[in-house]
């Protein structure tokens, strides 16, 4: 199945990794001073699209065998400020930038319902989150990774407390309490690694000095980092902040927390396993079991909670927690195939849950109800949102011809190869749970509206049941969702021709030195 391959990626100096961070960061600052909704939308979308273009240019370089890297002095003595656009970082960055390009045009402009004081800080915070996510993706060492994650906390905090109500403020405090505590734990882990190895820079295959360090200390460092990043990844029981963050405006919540923050957390775990400690050391020290257990418990508990929740936005939030945990689950299986699956799943989960939540928030904004019954007929009235929701559900469930299927296949084969039958069973159970709680709203959305009486107000409906017009696909708020749906289908139907699988394979080959199918 697997064979050793020679991966010859060489590091080259480039300003592009910093550009990918700087462009959205500068734009976020600028957006704080923009007052008109239209300009906000244009600037924020442009920031995301330009970031995507920069990322694509770096993808071309990586495919040619170069890893663009920026080094700019030292943050603290002994720890350089280094940004490295390796395949793993690029995959995560592309996923986040893509979903940001889709979601940002959907954010309510300044002065409307979703933006209480008209300052446009929601959009600015989201673009800032994009910048922080780029820093997470390209952080060249553990210290920088922790700092970038903390920046992500800081720029997303205003979203949680944005409504400025007592409840929102408390939710904000709780968010900070959870994530900053996680940050402190992670920082302690970084300090321990530095003490043990004398470096915290990521190296393909892991920091070599850790292999000869005292095992108990290495284990402690790993657990500290896992718990610290686990808060961001919303691993149960560290997930309490996610539901509280729903005080943020719905589309902003969908984009920032289940997508950017949680995915950043899972990415940090994968990065730590691959390039921090290395798969060999993690396996030898028996650390994989801790991660597997945490991920499996998260998947099962979050899915059970999703089944028991009638509110669809809450349900999808739990689905996001459960789905994201499949990435660390695959990473801790430690086989190259499972690791490749974890990376593909990271992309599929980020885009899939992002599109589903954005579509749902759009419809909930119209119907003003977040129940299965409330969605009835909405797929026909808003076909773009309905189709996007259907495709994203298909991907989250793992249906063939969607990216979810490719990821699940890799994860299951990887688990099977390693003899982790329980991990495979947990993944299969997760898919069944997803069907159980996502099929009813999908079916409800596809049905015709109630014939009389309880039809939603006319001004809310784009189309009647029988009418159809391609004009609905040009709506700036819903048509980007179709781009997301297309990405999910394209990567799932022709995975060999897309960069997701290619970068995933490259990332694993670079880190483990072993080829994957």
């Amino acid at each position: 199945m697997t064979d050793a391959t020679e991966v010859a990626l060489t590091t080259v100096g480039s300003v592009r990794p910093v550009l990918a961070v700087a462009i959205p960061a500068v734009m976020a600052a600028a957006l704080l001073f923009v007052r008109t909704g239209r300009t906000q939308r244009i600037l924020s979308t442009a920031a995301a699209l330009v970031t995507v273009i920069v990322l694509l240019s770096m993808t071309v370089a990586v495919r040619a065998g170069d890893i663009p890297m920026t080094i700019g002095g030292e943050i603290v003595p002994g720890i350089p400020l280094e940004f490295r656009a390796d395949p793993l970082g690029l995959v995560f960055a592309l996923a986040v930038a893509t979903i940001a390009s889709i979601g940002l045009p959907m954010i309510p402009p300044a002065g409307t319902k979703g933006d209480a004081d008209g300052s446009g800080r929601v959009v600015a915070a989201l673009v800032g989150a994009l910048a922080a996510a780029m820093a997470v993706a390209f952080a060249g060492n553990l210290f920088l990774l922790v700092i970038a994650l903390e920046l992500l906390t800081i720029v997303t905090y205003p979203l949680v407390s944005h409504p400025e109500t007592r409840r929102a403020r408390w939710a904000g405090y709780r968010y900070l309490a959870y994530t900053l505590t996680g940050g402190v734990l992670a920082l302690a882990g970084v300090r321990t690694v530095y003490t043990l190895a004398g470096t915290v820079s990521f190296v393909s295959g892991g920091i070599m000095e850790l292999a000869t360090a005292e095992p108990t200390s290495v284990r402690i460092a790993f657990v500290l980092l896992l718990l610290g990043f686990g808060v961001k990844a919303a691993l149960v029981p560290l997930h309490g902040w996610v539901l509280g963050a729903r005080t943020a405006p719905a589309p902003a919540y969908a984009l920032a927390f289940p997508v950017i923050v949680i995915t950043a957390g899972t990415f940090a775990i994968v990065r730590t396993v691959l390039d921090g400690f290395g798969t060999v050391l993690v396996g030898e020290l028996g650390l994989a079991w801790i991660g597997l257990l945490l991920a499996a418990v998260t998947i099962l508990v979050a899915n059970l909670l999703a089944v028991a929740t009638a509110d669809l936005e809450r349900r999808l939030s739990y689905a996001a927690i459960a789905g994201a945990a499949a990435t660390p689950l695959g990473a801790f299986v430690l086989t190259p195939i499972a690791l490749t699956g974890a990376i593909v799943h990271l992309v599929g989960q980020a885009i899939g849950i992002g599109v589903a939540l954005l579509a749902l928030s759009y419809i909930v904004e119209i119907t003003e109800t977040s129940t299965t019954a409330g969605l009835r007929g909405m797929g026909r009235h808003h076909p773009a949102a309905g189709i996007a929701f259907g495709v994203s559900v298909a991907s989250l469930v793992g249906l063939p011809f969607s990216v979810g299927f490719v990821a699940f296949w890799y994860l299951l084969v990887g688990a099977g190869t390693a003899g982790h039958i329980v991990a495979g069973a947990v993944l299969a159970a997760s898919a069944v749970f997803h069907v159980a709680y996502l099929l009813p709203p999908l079916r409800s959305m596809a049905r015709a509206s109630k014939p009389t009486g309880e039809t939603p107000p006319a001004h809310n409906l784009a189309r009647s049941d029988s009418e159809f017009s391609f004009a609905v696909f040009t709506d700036h708020r819903t048509s980007p969702l179709l781009v997301g749906a297309t990405v999910l289908l394209l990567v799932g139907s022709i995975p060999d021709q897309t960069i997701v699988l290619e970068l995933g394979r490259l990332a694993i080959e670079t880190s483990t030195g072993v080829g994957t199918p």
Partner: protein
């Protein structure tokens, strides 16, 4: 010259499904029928062999691998599609039914032709997805039926995908006998889901039972055929355990079919009986006979479904004709000499009669008697039903004539050509005698049950058994778990409030954690909600089960 093996023929049907939706409504049956005929022609003409190997996600995939058994299985699946299309045309169904049926059949064919595990997993997943969609089109119970089908088969799809992944991880291909044991078990359970073994039949009795005749034709035997394929690739050399499960399932389903009062349930249980007998054939090392039996089931089902219409399943033919057609279906399925199942049942019984499965011969024969009894009761009811044949339906009559002709031609040809080649004269004579005995005993049994006094309440409805043994304990256990998890979530998300509250008032905390629907469920059944004592009991039960499983595992390991 075009290499026929290079043509990924299931995609022809998927393209056909798209064409059906795109064409005007009145051309939908023609478009679907044409797609089926093209694919049928391909199956008849294509040589035995393997198509080109392609790459998908870095894994080698073989969309086409055809041999004698696969060709037969493919033709059976196409027959299902064609018959379903004809029924949909007679019923003037929605074009989406034609499209869904065509796509479902295409997915089943992809499963049949698959030469690698990845394609098998993808085809099963696609079959489940389009099957769920098909059920959702104008379903009588719009939310429940597709949700049940989708949910139950999400489990089977997970099992197929998991089993296939394990097989790939072990470096095997379909047909290898060295697939890891856990993988084989997963695939075997998925096959049992497919044929609707009692207990794993939520998709059938709770899902398809209310669907229109055409949807039932597409999905009943289509799912059974898919299950048989998975059983065949998981156990290429056969399996005593799977044969035993199939025989037992046939017996239980036969008990349902002869005792159930609901005619929809009778028809569903008949599918279960004969699907399980097909599984017995596959597990006994006679897959060709297994698929032959599914063909007999398809024809029998066609003869029954053509007599009724949607949505209330009333008979639309004259009572005598309807009753006669049901009886014809009965002898077709139980295998009277000269009728389609005669040869398949004979070969299956012969295969069972060798080795450790001899006892199963009697189990299958008793199941056939029960099936015949169920058919006989159904025929009597159809013959006694009110005459609703006032509307002239020439299309329906043409379909009846076609089905009757197919029954006679396939039955006679099978008897003359296949039966005399594969079975000895003594076996033929024995099989003929047994078949006649089955028909006589079954008919007598059916008439006796039908004449019994309904006030005596002797009719066995197996539902109570399933509810008592499976549904209630599972539901109770799941709710206990859910209550515990929700409680933990309350503690986790608002630690101070949740922990203090839960510590002071554990019963209230757990009761409030139970979802409203679950509370209602307990109230209606006057059951105690799972409080702390309930959880304690639940944990104890779990420990017992764990000990039991561990003991079984140790015993198996020790044996191995």
């Amino acid at each position: 010259m075009i290499d026929a093996l290079a043509l990924p023929v299931p995609f022809v049907l998927l393209a056909g499904a798209v064409l059906v939706v795109a064409t005007p409504r009145r051309f939908a049956p023609l478009a679907a029928g044409a797609a089926f005929l093209v694919v049928l022609g391909w199956f008849l003409a294509v040589p035995t062999g393997v198509g080109p190997t392609r790459q998908f996600a870095g894994f080698p995939v073989q969309l086409v691998a055809i041999d004698r058994t696969i060709r037969a299985a493919g033709i059976v699946i196409i027959a299902i599609g064609l018959l379903g299309t004809c029924l949909a045309a007679v019923e003037k169904d929605d074009p989406l039914v034609f499209a869904g049926g065509t796509a479902t059949t295409g997915a089943a064919l992809a499963l049949v032709l698959a030469g690698d595990w990845l394609t098998i997993a993808a085809a099963w997943g696609t079959f489940v997805a389009v099957g769920t969609g098909l059920l959702a089109v104008r379903a009588a119970a719009p939310l429940e039926a597709p949700a049940r089908f989708g949910l139950v088969h999400a489990v089977s799809a997970g099992l197929v995908m998991g089993g296939a992944a394990l097989a790939v991880g072990a470096g095997t291909t379909p047909g290898d006998t060295v697939v890891p044991r856990v993988g084989r078990i997963a695939l075997g359970v998925a096959a049992a889901f497919g044929v609707g073994v009692v207990g794993l039949d939520g998709w059938l009795r709770g899902g398809i039972i209310d669907a229109s005749p055409s949807v039932r034709m597409f999905l009943f035997p289509g799912t059974v055929g898919a299950g048989l394929i998975v059983g065949m690739v998981a156990f290429p050399g056969g399996s005593v355990a799977l044969a035993s499960i199939g025989a037992a399932a046939a017996l239980v389903a036969a008990a349902i079919t002869i005792t159930a009062e609901d005619t929809r349930l009778v028809v569903a249980a008949q599918v279960q009986v004969h699907g399980a007998i097909g599984l017995v054939g596959v597990a006994a090392g006679a897959p060709l006979a297994g698929f032959g039996h599914v063909l007999a089931l398809v024809i029998a089902l066609g003869l029954i479904l053509v007599t009724i219409t949607k949505p209330v399943a009333v008979s639309v033919l004259s009572p005598r004709l309807a009753g006669g057609l049901v009886l014809l279906g009965a002898v077709t399925a139980v295998g009277l000499p000269g009728f389609p199942a005669f040869v398949s049942v004979g070969i299956i019984l012969s295969a069972l009669d060798t080795g450790p499965t001899t006892a199963l011969v009697w189990v299958v024969l008793i199941a056939l008697v029960g099936s015949m009894g169920g058919f006989a009761r159904l025929a009597v009811r159809r013959a006694r039903s009110a005459d609703r044949s006032g509307t002239k339906q020439p299309g329906r009559l043409v379909l009846v004539v076609t089905l009757v002709t197919a029954t006679v031609v396939i039955g006679t040809a099978g008897f003359v050509v296949i039966g005399t080649l594969l079975l000895t004269t003594a076996e033929l004579a024995l099989q003929a005698g047994l078949a006649v005995l089955v028909v006589v005993l079954g008919t007598s049994l059916g008439r006796a049950v039908e004449r019994s006094d309904p006030r005596a309440d002797i009719h066995l409805d197996s539902d109570w058994l399933v509810k008592a043994v499976v549904v209630t304990p599972v539901r109770h256990g799941a709710d206990r778990l859910l209550a515990l998890v929700r409680w933990a979530d309350v503690v986790g998300t608002s630690f101070a409030r949740g922990a203090v509250y839960a510590a002071r008032r554990p019963n209230e905390a757990l009761d409030s954690a139970l979802p409203p629907a679950a509370s209602r469920w307990y109230d209606e059944r006057r059951l105690r909600t799972p409080g702390p004592t309930g959880i304690k009991i639940g944990l104890e039960e779990s420990v017992y089960v764990l000990v039991l499983l561990l003991t079984a595992a140790i015993m198996l390991g020790w044996r191995g």
